[in-house]
Symmetry: C2
Subunit: 347 residues, 2 copies
Amino acid sequence: MNTKASKNQIIQESELHALGKRAFLKLGMSDQDTDDLTRILVLADLFGLSTHGLSRIESYGDRLKIGGINSQPHIQIERLAPAIIGVNGDNGVGPVVGMRTLNAAMEAATEFGIAIAFARGSNHFGPISPYSLIAADKGFASIIGSNATTTIAPWGGSDARLGNSPLGFGVPNPNGKPFLLDMAMSVVARAKIRNALKFGEQIPNTWGTDAKGNATTDPKAALDGFLLPIGGHKGYGLALMVDLFAGLLSNAAYLTHIKSWQDAPDEPQNLGHFFILVDTKRLGSSQWLSERMIDFANILMESPPADPSKPVIVPGMIELAKLERQRRDGIEMSSETLELLKQYAGE
Amino acid sequence: MNTKASKNQIIQESELHALGKRAFLKLGMSDQDTDDLTRILVLADLFGLSTHGLSRIESYGDRLKIGGINSQPHIQIERLAPAIIGVNGDNGVGPVVGMRTLNAAMEAATEFGIAIAFARGSNHFGPISPYSLIAADKGFASIIGSNATTTIAPWGGSDARLGNSPLGFGVPNPNGKPFLLDMAMSVVARAKIRNALKFGEQIPNTWGTDAKGNATTDPKAALDGFLLPIGGHKGYGLALMVDLFAGLLSNAAYLTHIKSWQDAPDEPQNLGHFFILVDTKRLGSSQWLSERMIDFANILMESPPADPSKPVIVPGMIELAKLERQRRDGIEMSSETLELLKQYAGE
């Protein structure tokens, strides 16, 4: 392990995976569950999504310690129809429930061509693109979503009643890079508004509202208020559809019924997720698919850039390039996260 | 038929349906196909989506007359896997291919709980919410999308390489109103920019770019340029995912391979669509679903509105209220559209 900057360190993937496993094992989880959980979080770190990677040990660890999350869940998997799976996560860690649900969905999609798996009784989902990548590597196109703690006001409303629910898509490319999209429904993350405040800048009036639900250019007012969804009523509608599939149809909690992991860390969140997987091997040969995927990407990337220094990119390209680089050269991790993992591991 | 305004007339649904049928029958279509087509377009008019209703007779009629669209398609439906349907639309009218594909998807979803149907060899899709409503009325939750003629530049690019692809969601409510979302990926429609130009107003710099791909507040420059997607790179990614499912995976044309119905009306577009349907009867009783759907809507609508004169609404609410009112009181149609339908019907 080398020190790259004062606050960051470089660590190899296998080392990070092993350290993560040791930490979660000490928190009472099973060997298989720590494997699944660490796999998803390390993939997030490899993609450069550090807020959704092993830094989550902070909140997951707290909640596991006080029993807010069940460290030894008995996850139940049921076939509700030939190609519909219902999963009861028994209040396990989100990515543990997520991986179990993804695996069940891939199995059913192999049999029927498409399957949907609904999870309930889960917790904070973690990042979506790791699941999409695992599915794409096995030839599945995917639509994956989760609901989340409420942080957004309904369009035209003035209190938090829906979550900044993430939605992801993946399309495999057997001889190249898949397309991966992992998006939350807000125009920007709160961190970007905090930065504007720090530098004394105004924000565009499309980023957030004040506490009364009125659009604002004042970052301080926006931090006291609510994030705005992309495209106004469009993003509002999209966030609701994700919650309808992930929470309502899955028989999990939805909207304000979801418990906040921050305000009530000792209580089950009863979050829900959904995974729709399509087996692309049923649609054509891998050569057919790869040729089309490469052509599709080339058409986009050949558009002359508006700013010559910024070539056109396609969804997932930056994250996949980072993953490749960090798999080779090691992963850049904050020293704090590594320290916390070691503390939990008792090292 | 009563005259309501100089340019609009009121016509009953059954009358409009019959008139639409007579017009398309004279264009050489079969009785069943005109039924399907007119059903979708009249639903659009009932919803108040007049640009996607029977006014489409103008472009559909032109293209049917010159053979750009096949008036007598032999639509082929194939099972690619137990729950995957592949449809070859044989260059039929979009909503004819769409309805045939929707019906095949509902049949397979009844059997397996979920199904996906991919259509290729199709044309301009028409509106999405009519399909979502038909599915919801039969208890299916849906995710439906189509690709479209290229009008949008890739994010950071400077020429039109992707379509303003529509994406729709529907969730049924057995004892109340379903949730319906029907959205294109641009922040606004071009008509809104044309209006700003007409009134000499500037536009927000999030609506469009100039011809070189740079964001602009000048409506004239934006009309010479490209529409911007919602949420910038997020809407760009979402539009691509719709095209990947609707065009690439369906084996239809995609991106710049799609022919424009405006520039090449005499050529097949080879558009693609996808329909994902989930049979909600497999998830719980209709009472269970309705109670949750009504609770879900109430939570949102009870948020105190930022502007007291504008209560919070939920997706599809305005369109469904309009449908109910126009089913009772008659549909408001432009006299021009009615005149054109009569001309085509030879009346």
